[in-house]
Symmetry: C2
Subunit: 303 residues, 2 copies
């Protein structure tokens, strides 16, 4: 509609305006993309009868340079001028895991002024969920300083203080990232303030051992999101192989939620998310188990 013919107060058409626009006028922050790449793997089983245990793992990278040299950080990097945030995230993902076609969602954007001692850096975080059976290709060739840590994140203190017009709820989480060699940890304080009808949530790192930047906070946030979404969506299936037993699926739920579930109830809950196959597990030291696959159309009614 001849928008371009309109002129602004300086009498410029859009074309002229864009011509004269100086993008370098203002100082700008840097923008990075940080990836939280989760997977679930098996621990070796204790004896021939028992099933292997499942653990939640997160990919971290050892910093080779300042700042936080020698500490572990989330994979990520600066966004390029000609790629969208999603493209940047997918690029990082590909660089680290060499896998395409993975579940990925934007988590949160972190923008505190002094998150990075180098300069003002705003970080957009993405969470990706990977089926570990795909992953035997191994995480990354080049960076031998990338590796998978077992994640655990537990609430260990909860304190509610009533105030005049509401309350303050303070929670302390203990985050642990570990493997055979390394043992990182952090304490994250999550404070929910309710005053009148208005509530606010703030996160703060109380202490952080071996985890670079504010990444402990980001990991805690991601675990919380994962725990929430697994309850009412089908994201858990992104962590499963093509065929799986219902017990394996339940173990994935349990390791993410951090608590045990009752078998019968769990099976009822996920019943229409799966389709049974004719295959069974073999050579278990006990009764074989039917294999299932994901049913993409499980929520046909409504949704």
């Amino acid at each position: 509609m001849s928008e371009s013919k309109k002129v602004n107060k300086q009498g410029l058409t859009e074309e002229e305006f864009l011509e004269s626009y100086d993008a370098s006028k203002y100082e700008r922050p840097s923008v990075t993309v940080d990836m939280l790449i989760f997977t679930v793997t098996n621990e070796k089983k204790e004896n021939y009868r028992k099933l292997p245990e499942k653990v939640l793992r997160l990919l971290m990278i050892k910093r080779a340079d300042h700042p936080y040299i020698g500490q572990w950080a989330l994979p990520g990097g600066f966004i390029k001028m000609d790629e969208s945030l999603e493209e940047g995230a997918l690029r990082e993902l590909k660089e680290e895991t060499n896998i395409d076609n993975i579940y990925m969602e934007q988590l949160y954007t972190w923008g505190d002024v002094n998150r990075d001692p180098r300069t003002r850096i705003i970080s957009v975080s993405y969470m990706a969920l990977v089926d570990s059976s795909n992953l035997n290709i191994k995480a990354s060739d080049d960076a031998d300083d990338a590796k998978w840590f077992t994640v655990s994140c537990n609430l260990y203190q909860e304190q509610k203080t009533l105030t005049e017009k509401g309350y303050i709820l303070q929670r302390l989480y203990n985050l642990r990232l570990s493997d055979e060699e390394d043992n990182l940890s952090a304490v994250i304080k999550v404070v929910k303030t309710v005053e009148g009808r208005v509530s606010r949530v703030e996160r703060e790192i109380v202490e952080s051992h071996g985890i670079a930047f504010d990444h402990a906070k980001i990991i805690e946030y991601a675990v919380e999101r994962l725990r929430n979404k697994i309850e009412y969506t089908d994201i858990a299936f992104n962590l499963m192989p093509e065929r799986f037993t219902l017990t394996e699926l339940q173990q994935v739920y349990e390791v993410i939620l951090g608590r045990e579930l009752l078998k019968a109830n769990f099976r009822r809950k996920i019943a229409n998310m799966v389709i049974e196959t004719n295959e069974y597990t073999k050579d278990a030291g006990h009764r074989p188990s039917k294999l299932f696959r994901f049913n993409p159309n499980w929520n046909d009614i409504s949704e």
Copy 2:
């Protein structure tokens, strides 16, 4: 732990490294904060007996310069180097509504390469919910080109196509922003692709009349988030005055959800989120209604 004594490959300590760090080495995108400020207001009532209708409103600003000159955009602006994203969002909020202490949450970060014709701009969007009785102070003094639009966002086409390993679900939403003078509209396409166990959601603006940039897409996203969260959180109370009737509360739910609810069921559902007072409405053309207030401790058990 004398982290600062460690040296990197160039033999620099952290102090020396930060000294020599040149933040201007790489080209960087601009970062803005966009605010979605919602409120709910009363329409005048039809006759002395009927209750006033409630409508959902969104604050928009008329663009005085290129690009999209003359069109309406979300309030927002460039982030300053010495303020966090939250601080920037609160600053914008204060500038536009002159209110502090408001509910606000980060929504999503939009980073497509060509969202803005001027330069690469990444926008972090925040949603704020305001009680309109507070707001009679009027939205913004300076910018007389800021005003409240009635929002409606309706699904009007849904199409599911089965594919080899999943399906493609395509939804078309009709977004309308209107007041006495202006009538803006847009069509947003939301495509959910499920392939194997991996799913992806993409949003695209099909057409946009009078709404600047990709803001129609952002508004649709916000409305969807609002509709989701009102079902399982207490955010609706941020839109209510200090004292309110249960019917008013129900109307707010209905106008956001875009459908009617059954009174008895609604009251059961929100029963423990409210506390009754001894006050009643007066001078209604019908039976007076008890006034309630929010109960901040409604979710004492668990959560």
